[in-house]
Each structure stands twice: as structure tokens, then as C-alpha cells.
């Protein structure tokens, strides 16, 4: 009777590394970035429990108060608690930042994938439009959209502001998605799919898009940082979120020279909140890029 070779038991096989643990070991800075993002997310979701005051509550008895045990970050010219406004402001920042980055990158990915997949005239046409859109600095394009569309508030979010920030992201993502698609289209499995008679829609949806998830994730996190910065800039200029909604850029807007001297905390803390958030998304995005796509690193 021939002996059947027994399959190696589980403990003789090399253990497959846990990808999450790998990330933590190789990219400690990315983990720090991610933890900071988690803190902001907790602030955004649990703002009602974390913030000690109502962010819109005006209290003239506590105007321009310095940081103290009652008001950690002091109060503004209307006596509103700066700490509570920053906590609630993370809602605006994250909602606008995440939604516009996801929205812009998703549209861009579809356009780029279609451009790379179809090639020829369609590709040429799309690429010329992308070229033109890339000739506008991001903030310029966003400001034009804000000026033309005005505001459209729903669910507490200004959707036109999100559209304004998402629009400049589309051509950048389309570029990246196109070049990734071009290398995928050259692969044999696409030929196989074509030979099997699959429709264009099915090939794009089932074979191309799942293969550009890595650059998509990298771009989404990178653009979240930029979108937060852009939202803060627009709100600062009075073109983004408007009073009394708490938003970091808006908190810095309209601060006159008097406040610089008498209430520097009004300027210090909202700016720190923006800087730390952008820093965290950048840190996490860079690590994610190095980890998902070592080729891009060089």
C-alpha cells in the first residue's frame, strides 16, 4: 500500500504575516498619522459629548477670555468657547475633506480608466480636457465654482463647496488612473476577457478598476490633506463655510489686529488644528504610498 504523503501540518508552514502588523512595523510614522486622524474622527463623531459648551452659544460675560480650566483654549469675541468650536469644526473639516477627496478621486478614476482603456480618439479628447483643467491652479478653479454655484445646504453640509473642492481633483486623479490603466490593458488577462466576449463595461468594472485600487487609495488620502487645507482657505476668505457653523478657517477669518494682541489664542488654536490635521493626513498618505506601491517611492 502506497503511503500517501501527508500534507504539511499548519505549524510547519511559515506563518503568513498579518498585513496590518506589517504596516505598523514598517511604517511607524504612518501609524502616528492614523492615530491623530482617529482622534479627529472621534471629535467629529462625538462632538456633542467631548465639547464642554455649545459651539454657537454666545456669552458676553466671557468675551475674549484667556485659556483657563473652564475654557481650555479661551473664548472668542462673542464669548464662544474656542475648544468646543474646534471640536465641532473637525466635523466640517473631515466631512468636506473626505467627501470631496472621495468624490473627486472616484469620478477621476472612472474618467481615467475609460480614457486609458478605450485609447485612440476618446483618450485624446479626454486628455486635452484634462490638460486644460490642469492649467488652473486648484484654488482658482474652486473659487470660480463657488462664485458660480453659490451655496446648497443639505444635511448640514454645503454640497456646492464639496463640488468646488472636488472638481480640481478630478483631472489629477484621471491622469494617474489613466497611466495605471495603460499598464493593465497590456496584460494578458485583459486580452482573455476581450476574447471571451465580455462587454467594455464588464471589463472596466471587473478587471480594470479593481486593479487600480492602490493608486486610488494613495490619491484619496493625499487629497484629503489638500482638501482640508483648501476648505480652511476658502472659509477664511469667506467663500466656504459661513457663520455661525464652526469651521477652523472661518475661526481665523475677520480677526483684526486687536485680537492679535489681546486674544492670541483665537488665532493660535484653530491654526494648530488645521496644521495637525493636514500633517496627519500627509504622514498617513506618505506611508500608505510607500507601503502599497514601493515603485513610487523612488
Amino acid at each position: 500500500m502506497a503511503t500517501v504523503a501527508s500534507t504539511p501540518s499548519a505549524d510547519t508552514l511559515p506563518k503568513r504575516a498579518n498585513p496590518l502588523w506589517q504596516f505598523v512595523k514598517v511604517q511607524p510614522l504612518g501609524v502616528i498619522g492614523f492615530l491623530i486622524i482617529l482622534v479627529y474622527a472621534a471629535c467629529a463623531i462625538g462632538a456633542g459629548w467631548i465639547a464642554p459648551y455649545d459651539p454657537e452659544e454666545i456669552d458676553f460675560a466671557a468675551m475674549l477670555g484667556a485659556p483657563s480650566a473652564q475654557h481650555f483654549f479661551g473664548t472668542d469675541q462673542y464669548g464662544r468657547d474656542v475648544f468646543s468650536r474646534i471640536v465641532y469644526g473637525s466635523r466640517t473639516a473631515l466631512a468636506v475633506g473626505i467627501l470631496s477627496a472621495v468624490f473627486g478621486c472616484t469620478v477621476g478614476a472612472f474618467i481615467g480608466a475609460a480614457s486609458g482603456y478605450f485609447g485612440g480618439r476618446i483618450d485624446n479628447f479626454i486628455q486635452r480636457i484634462v490638460d486644460i483643467m490642469l492649467s488652473f491652479p486648484i484654488i482658482v478653479l474652486a473659487m470660480v465654482v463657488v462664485a458660480v454655484l453659490g451655496k446648497r445646504q443639505a444635511l448640514g453640509i454645503d454640497w456646492n463647496l464639496i463640488a468646488a473642492i472636488a472638481l480640481p481633483i478630478i483631472p489629477k486623479m484621471a491622469r494617474v488612473a489613466r497611466s495605471s490603466t495603460l499598464s493593465i490593458v497590456a496584460m494578458p488577462f485583459i486580452d482573455a476577457a476581450r476574447a471571451a466576449g465580455f462587454s467594455h463595461k464588464r471589463i472596466i468594472m471587473r478587471h480594470i478598476l479593481p486593479n487600480i485600487v492602490a493608486p486610488y487609495l494613495i490619491m484619496v488620502t493625499a487629497f484629503m490633506a489638500q482638501a482640508i487645507l483648501l476648505e480652511a482657505s476658502l472659509s477664511f476668505l469667506g467663500l466656504g463655510v459661513t457663520e455661525p457653523t464652526p469651521a477652523w478657517g472661518l475661526m481665523l477669518s475677520g480677526t483684526s489686529a486687536d485680537f492679535y494682541q489681546t486674544a492670541p489664542w483665537m488665532i493660535l488654536f484653530p491654526g494648530l488644528a488645521i496644521t495637525l490635521a493636514v500633517f496627519a493626513f500627509n504622514l498617513f498618505g506618505d506611508s500608505l504610498r510607500d507601503w502599497l506601491d514601493p515603485k513610487l517611492k523612488s
Binding site: R128, I129, D131, I132, M133, S135, F136, P137, I138, I139, V140, M143, V144, V145, V146, A147, V148, L149, G150, A225, L229, A232, S233, F236, L237, G238, L239, G249, L252, T255, A257, Y260, Q261, P264, I267, L268, G271, I274, T275, L276, V278, F279, N282, L283, S298
Partner: protein, 317 residues
């Protein structure tokens, strides 16, 4: 080289026309009515007749192709129309504000290069030491700090430490250089920091890459003095990518200017753009966007040409 320049110049023309068309369509064809947005802002009660009259006054009642024809004919004469707010010609409004913005942009670039080249070089030479870590932290924060907040911090420091504020109002550099610089240096610093940060990172990584090249090893093997290797071989080649940064960062420079001019109350292109946007002055917005996009295209063209001049492999391929 001449043929390369001509070819690149010709390629700019279709992009410029495309940009002009895109600006037109962005403003008129996007959902949302510019007149309604302008007149009914803040929920003002404006009758439909008034909106119609305003539309007629601005020539927005004409069919789209007629509007487009007017616009293109104007552009062919380099005429950007009149501001809806002041009635002044858009060309004039822009020309008035260009000098101060241009000066700040140029100063920011100079500051950036002056900081980035030595810092990037030191960082690369002392790789993975505390000097390198310090420089990298400085560079990473440059990407995260909003330029307008940095500007506010500068004002705050000046006020709290010296009880002094830069004067409002721009004096030409040739008239009174000291007064001019005391106004422009602060916005240039706040915009230049991000610029310097990006360029420092680029300088560091490109120098590290060049130092691994064979010709550096050969020079070392020949016994060439390290300082000479750096000056003659490494730095020259490492500077190439830094030139690219100038083009890439121009968009951020404009973005920084738009917001930072507001902080320092400087009456430049950025402030004009913000004012035009808040007032809904669509002719002015249209003219400014065209102007900025044209500048952007030309800066990138100059960078490409500079690159080709510095690296013959590009123009010959």
C-alpha cells in the same frame, strides 16, 4: 534648441484657446444662474423683472453662441471687458495689481531657493543624523502649515515682540526700497515657507540619488577632493529636479498669494480675485482666471525650456 522652443511655443496655442473656452463655459454653462446668485445672495427679495433687466444689461440674454462670439472677438484684441462692479476695464484693474503680486511671488521664490539648496544639501550630506531629522521635520511642517496662518503668526510675533505692524499700502520698489520691502517681505516669507519645504525635500532626495551614481564613485576613486566632487559633479546634477519644483509649486504660490494678500491687506491680484468672487463680478473673475491660467502655462513652459537647456537628453529625444 531653437526648434525645440518653437515646437513648445506652438503647442501652447491650443491649450490657451482651450483655457479661454473652458473659462467661458465654466461661468455661463454650469448649473446656477450668475445673476440670481449675485442679486439674491443673502436671501434678498428681488423681482424676476429686475433679474431680467440685469441679464439684459450684462448681455446675458443673448444666445450663447452670440455671447461666445463677443467674448472671443474681445480676446483677439486682448480686451477682457469691463468690471461689472467698478465699470473700469478689466485689463486696467489687473495691470494695476500685477507689480506687487509679482514682486511677492518672485521674492518668495528667491527665499525658497536660498533656503532649500543649502538645507537640502546639508540634510543629504548628514543623512540620518539629527541634523537631517531636524531639516525633514521642518520640511514636512512646511507642507502642513497654511500660509495664511503663518502670515498671522508673523503679524502676531511682530506685534507682541516689537509692538510694530507693517504699514498698509504699497510703495514701488524704485521709489522707496525700504518702505517697499518692509511691506512685502512678510507675505513673501509666509508664502515662501511651503515653497522652501517642497524644494528642500526635492533637493535632498535628488542629491542622495546623484551621490550613488558611478561618476561620483569614479571621482572619489581618482582621489578628487570631496568639496570639488560636490561642487563640480553632484550639486550641478542634483539641481535639475529642483527646477521642476518651481513649475510645480507655482500653482500653490498663486493659491498662497490669494489668501495671504488678504491677511496682510495687500492690494494685489489675489485680493482682487477674492473681491471679484465675493461681489460676483463675473467679467473680472473671467479675466483674472484667464490671466492666472496664462501665467501658469507660461511658467511651466519656461521651466520645460530651462530643463531642456540644462539637460540635453530631453531636447534631443
Amino acid at each position: 534648441m531653437i526648434w525645440y522652443i518653437i515646437r513648445r511655443l506652438l503647442l501652447v496655442i491650443p491649450t490657451l484657446i482651450g483655457v479661454a473656452v473652458a473659462v467661458f463655459f465654466l461661468i455661463r454653462v454650469m448649473p446656477g444662474d450668475v445673476v440670481v446668485v449675485k442679486l439674491r445672495a443673502d436671501g434678498a427679495n428681488v423681482s424676476d423683472e429686475m433679474i431680467e433687466a440685469e441679464r439684459k444689461r450684462l448681455g446675458l440674454d443673448k444666445p450663447l453662441y452670440a455671447q461666445f462670439a463677443d467674448y472671443m472677438v474681445g480676446l483677439a484684441h486682448f480686451d477682457l471687458g469691463k468690471s461689472l462692479w467698478t465699470g473700469e476695464s478689466v485689463n486696467k484693474e489687473i495691470a494695476l495689481r500685477v507689480p506687487v503680486s509679482f514682486q511677492i511671488a518672485l521674492m518668495a521664490s528667491i527665499i525658497a531657493v536660498l533656503i532649500a539648496i543649502p538645507l537640502g544639501t546639508i540634510s543629504a550630506l548628514y543623512r540620518d543624523t539629527w541634523i537631517d531629522h531636524g531639516v525633514r521635520v521642518l520640511a514636512v511642517s512646511g507642507l502642513a502649515i497654511p500660509s495664511f496662518w503663518l502670515g498671522m503668526l508673523i503679524i502676531m510675533t511682530l506685534l507682541l515682540m516689537f509692538n510694530w505692524l507693517p504699514k498698509i499700502g504699497y510703495v514701488s520698489l524704485w521709489q522707496d526700497p525700504i518702505a517697499n520691502l518692509s511691506v512685502t517681505i512678510w507675505p513673501a516669507l509666509s508664502v515662501g515657507y511651503r515653497y522652501a519645504a517642497v524644494a528642500t525635500r526635492m533637493m535632498r532626495s535628488s542629491l542622495l540619488e546623484v551621490m550613488r551614481e558611478d561618476y561620483i564613485r569614479t571621482a572619489r576613486a581618482k582621489g578628487v577632493w570631496t568639496r570639488l566632487i560636490m561642487r563640480r559633479h553632484a550639486l550641478r546634477n542634483a539641481m535639475l529636479p529642483v527646477v521642476t519644483v518651481i513649475g510645480l509649486e507655482f500653482a500653490f504660490l498663486i493659491g498662497g498669494l490669494v489668501v495671504t494678500e488678504q491677511v496682510f491687506n495687500i492690494n494685489g491680484i489675489g485680493k482682487l480675485f477674492v473681491d471679484a468672487t465675493t461681489r460676483g463680478d463675473f467679467n473680472l473673475i473671467q479675466g483674472l482666471v484667464l490671466f492666472i491660467a496664462t501665467m501658469f502655462i507660461f511658467v511651466n513652459l519656461v521651466v520645460d525650456l530651462l530643463y531642456a537647456w540644462l539637460d540635453p537628453r530631453i531636447r534631443l529625444s
